[in-house]
């Protein structure tokens, strides 16, 4: 097996290893419960669905409007996250230990914060009486309760996912290849463009997918900061909420719209898988 050359430092895992390292029977029960907790609600959703009502619900102008707003705002938010997040991830990954710890804590905060708090915080900054809001109002710019507010709220909650994923990827790639590039005469920007970025490509892709999915599902911060105006700020999650609570509208519409979001999310995951398998390892 090992041949005459020096054995590699870490032996590859074989089928025999997996056979020997069996999962203890006692742990199988909580594992099964875990998957049930995740999968059963979605299954119940499908079972509750009145399939005959689905076509009408998802093709209704309100649903189409909400879905296009969601896809567009989440797409723009993801693009913003890429533009801001990759440089931020690079700065954190290359910073000294203490600076990195502080920056990473700041980045992680929106991740663990309830999105509603994020919405209030955004209002405190950009609201009519907010920190910047008053000056912006003098310039004639109003941010809250616009489509821009939707995008800002989505960036606020989704950016951490991208930064954390890309930063981890940068750390595992290390700086040795960048040093080689510099030694060959490449400027820092050339090194970033031609070495760093391609090497962390899979991480950027994974981060982008997480970021987009989080932006698509964003509800709390959007509701507070952007409101719920059809065609302007009513994204899919808000449309579902409205349908669910709305007078005269049946729960079926909410369920059908939820199904659409589930389908979009699954599609995004499948696309990512396809790309990752092509990606050079």
């Amino acid at each position: 097996m090992t041949g005459t050359t020096a054995a590699p430092a870490t032996r590859r895992e074989t089928g025999a290893d997996r056979r020997a390292a069996r999962v203890p029977a006692l742990l199988v029960v909580p594992a099964a419960l875990g998957i049930a907790v995740l999968a059963l609600p979605l299954l119940a959703l499908l079972l509750r669905l009145d399939w005959s009502a689905v076509p009408a619900a998802v093709t209704s102008p309100a649903a189409v409007q909400a879905l296009s707003l969601s896809l567009a705002s989440a797409g723009i938010a993801t693009a913003c996250c890429l533009i801001l997040g990759i440089p931020l991830a690079l700065v954190i990954a290359r910073a000294g230990r203490r600076t990195a710890a502080v920056l990473r804590a700041l980045v992680t905060l929106p991740l663990v914060l309830p999105p509603l708090v994020g919405g209030i915080a955004l209002l405190a900054l950009l609201g009519r009486t907010g920190l910047f809001g008053e000056s912006l109002a003098l310039l004639g710019v109003r941010v809250p309760f616009t489509t821009a507010a939707v995008v800002i709220a989505q960036v606020f909650v989704a950016l951490p996912f991208l930064v954390i994923t890309v930063e981890g990827s940068l750390r595992s790639v290390g700086t040795r290849f960048e040093a080689v590039g510099a030694g060959l005469g490449a400027s820092p920007l050339t090194v970033f463009r031609r070495i760093t970025l391609p090497l962390v490509g899979p991480g950027v892709l994974a981060g982008t997918v997480l970021c987009f999915a989080r932006a698509l599902g964003e509800f709390g911060a959007t509701a507070l900061f952007a409101g719920n105006t059809a065609g302007v700020t009513r994204t899919m999650p808000l449309a579902i909420y409205t349908a669910f609570n709305g007078a005269g509208v049946s729960e079926d519409t909410a369920i059908a719209l939820s199904l659409m979001l589930v389908v979009v999310a699954i599609a995004v995951l499948l696309v990512m898988r396809g790309w990752r398998e092509d990606a050079p390892r």
Binding site: A179, V180, G183, G185, A186, R194, P198, L199, P280, R281
Partner: protein, 379 residues
């Protein structure tokens, strides 16, 4: 960025610090010259290369390459000159090829020319020429992951040289290769260095690299150059036990005697007088510290009875009576050491060892051939 062929000599007089370690060296490598740097682990070899490449800043000193100053710093003040790595035109090749895995072989080699502003097609032509020179032209379209370790290192050499470095730094480039591959790579490096006349520093732990490739060798020890000179001189008369072990010779340190020899005191006051057959210039003054060098194979071993020497205290030049302490296999025979002079290895052909009925504890007479002894002042 200047991109020309090697333009001049490297002159470095620098101190640098990494962790608690301090390096202080002065080296000069001429155009067309290859200097081998040898030294034990932690002696500062990598710190030296990192300082020259610009990966760490010197704490003081000057690094000059031809008419360019790469770094200049006076003690206690910020560096007045500290060129970024990318602007130094210094090629560094280590033990690992570190090929860019997302690029094909030819794109890897073309990276340097392209980064230095040459057009895509010119850079590719350039890269192809270098791949041909290292004998890897047929691998051009492959991905690094598809190559063997030796092939990857060939491509890495092509990539380093395609960037037209004015100084080449090689950090144990053969260490990860198997013996025949390392031999082929050694030949290739020798040819390419001779062709391009790039001043080159080769860090190695293998004296063979120094013998085959280098004109001069420097021995680093604790961040300082312990010895610097022509390879034959350094390996032939090592100044430190490290180099002696590396060169496979016995190094004896003692006091110079009137006969031009060196008197050595071994374990438990055992004495040995080593006298060379020929005197070199620069005989150490009597009583001064001196060292003698002889090869483990230059020792004749005989039973006490044959030599007619009683185990008396009389000091016969180049001879000691010893008790075998340790026997080890050696290529073609046996290597032994004695209680009296544990630092000296003695090599015997297998047949001789059998005839002598060697075993630990045996008392034998050891005679060093005077023609094989060389003596120098030490310190």
């Amino acid at each position: 960025m200047t991109g020309g062929e090697a333009s001049g000599a490297l002159v470095a007089e620098v101190a640098s610090a990494r962790g608690g370690f301090r390096l202080e060296v002065a080296v000069r490598v001429e155009r067309g010259e290859l200097l081998a740097v040898l030294g034990p682990n932690g002696s500062g070899k990598s710190t030296l290369l990192a300082t020259l490449a610009g990966l760490i800043a010197p704490t003081e000193g000057v690094v000059r390459l031809g008419d360019r100053e790469l770094a200049r710093r006076a003690p206690g003040v910020p560096a007045t000159i500290d060129l970024p790595v990318a602007q130094r035109s210094v090629g560094l090749l280590g033990q690992e090829p570190l090929l860019f895995r997302h690029l094909s072989v030819i794109e890897n080699v073309a990276f340097g020319p392209r980064a230095q502003g040459r057009g895509t097609s010119t850079a590719r032509l350039d890269a192809m020429t270098w791949l041909e020179r290292v004998g890897a032209a047929d691998l051009a379209r492959r991905r690094p992951a598809e190559l063997s370790g030796g092939q990857q290192q060939r491509v890495a050499i092509a990539r380093t040289l395609a960037a037209r470095p004015e100084l080449l730094l090689l950090d144990e480039p053969f260490a990860a290769l198997d013996v025949p591959t390392a031999a082929a790579m050694r030949r290739l490096i020798g040819e390419l260095c001779a062709e391009t006349a790039t001043p080159t520093i080769l860090v190695t732990h293998d004296p063979l690299d120094a013998i085959v490739l280098a004109q001069r060798a420097a021995i680093l020890h604790d961040g300082r150059i312990a010895q610097l000179g022509p390879v034959a001189e350094v390996l032939g008369h090592p100044a430190t036990p490290f180099v002696a072990a590396l060169a496979g010779v016995n190094l004896a340190t003692g006091v110079a005697t009137g006969s031009g020899g060196v008197e050595i005191t071994g374990a438990d006051g055992a004495r040995l007088l080593l006298v060379p057959a020929e005197q070199h210039a620069g005989v150490p003054a009597v009583g001064a510290p001196a060292s003698a060098v002889f090869s483990p194979a230059a020792v004749h071993v005989a039973p006490l009875a044959d030599t007619g020497v009683a185990a008396s205290g009389a000091l016969v030049p180049n001879r000691w009576i010893g008790t075998v302490s340790l026997l080890q296999p050696a290529p073609g025979g046996v290597r032994l050491t004695t209680d009296e002079h544990p630092g000296f290895a003695v090599d015997l052909p297998g047949a001789t060892a059998v005839a002598l009925e060697l075993r630990p504890g045996a008392r034998l007479a050891f005679t060093v051939a005077a023609a094989e002894v060389s003596v120098r002042a030490s310190g």
